[in-house]
Subunit: 233 residues, 2 copies
Amino acid sequence: MSTAQGARARARIEVTSAIKDEARRQLAAEGAAKLSLRAVARELGMVSSALYRYFPSRDDLLTALIIDAYDSLGEAAEAAHAAASDTGPLRRWVAVCDAVRGWALGHPHEYALIYGSPVPGYTAPDTTVRAASRVGLLLTRIVRDAHRSVGVARTPIPVELRPEAERLTADLAPDLPPEVTMALVAAWAQVYGLIGFELFGQFNRVVEDRETFFRYSVSRIAHEVGLVFPEKE
Amino acid sequence: MSTAQGARARARIEVTSAIKDEARRQLAAEGAAKLSLRAVARELGMVSSALYRYFPSRDDLLTALIIDAYDSLGEAAEAAHAAASDTGPLRRWVAVCDAVRGWALGHPHEYALIYGSPVPGYTAPDTTVRAASRVGLLLTRIVRDAHRSVGVARTPIPVELRPEAERLTADLAPDLPPEVTMALVAAWAQVYGLIGFELFGQFNRVVEDRETFFRYSVSRIAHEVGLVFPEKE
DNA sequence: CTCAAGCGAGAGCAGTGCTCTCGTAAGTGG
DNA sequence: CCACTTACGAGAGCACTGCTCTCGCTTGAG
């Protein structure tokens, strides 16, 4: 139904994706700030005003790129998870984190776009939310599986956090103990912190062997969410 | 020697700081992307070209703002530390982290500027490094004090990380065990991750009581660097 | 007192996002 | 099969940006 319904429509999605491709190229090359509609149009051999038939504004183009980036990152993470599906939870956890880091290093500007400072007056439309949560859901799944199979360690949480933890658990993973959901959310943020520091140069002249450092830190974070530590290397 | 050496020089530093103030205002209001030299000049009643007598380019203005932001953040952290100087290490740790988070929430655009995605082709000049490391040094000091007074817990690190950990220790805190320095660097990155996720909206519709969540998470991270956990509330 | 240096003003260049209008080509209803 | 609406590309134009260059005035050092 969506295929071959008029050459017009087909051409439209083709041009749309050509615009996104060229925009992604410029984004990767120069960063979001230097992404220019006119330059994209120029490169595609069209005039700038024509581009507005496809994206109503530069921000809309950026939003489209952001969603694609989330999806690309999510796919990379899921692929890594699938490749490690026959190993234990800890190794899968590390594999997924590694994949996220790898994607971030390979697509620094796109990573910055989705996890760095948001563009000026930008608030994420709901469309992005689903794409954005893929990695988080994946990590949740790993912990959930681990919980089902071997059980996870728990650290008590203070009373004032209990309501928060229970709401979170109900939303994310009702089958997990609240302590774990809590730690899981924090863990994901912490992994993001490690990647961000590396990517944005805060580790320059501080950490040298960043891959080893990352793997180690991420393992410790995994321990925090209850994944058993002394899993066979 | 630096005071009152010619009205010319005095006027210069006055205008320079007036420019920075107005630029900071625009930065806070609209974000780095919308900071415009011409708008700054306009607001100050001068013509845009005059501004180039003080800052050779827009990037140089931004760099100046970045250094000031680092200093402002560092001061906030150090003030919080001083205010909690008669308490235990864990509470001081939490106080400093809290101050950093507070500063970040109060200056989101400036925080984004220094810890979010770096501006386009920008590489931090050495001038910024010193200002940038103030918070890290402060956290190091807390852990170092704790180590001297009560000792800190250690978690063994894998062999492949030993050289890294030892180099790091030599650079940062020779009096600390390598396991701790290692964990400390990771901890700082993780704290940054928590703040970043909150600031950039990743906790929207996920975490509600963010202050409590942050304090708790930061306490757990403190535990990771060996600060004793069951310190009296 | 002289004179080079510092400074502000203005014009100007190349670039940007975005709007509007105008022909033309494509697909649709009669 | 033909008229008509719709989608689209081109072009001109507006307001804005960072940045450069030149021109005079002011200032402070020699």
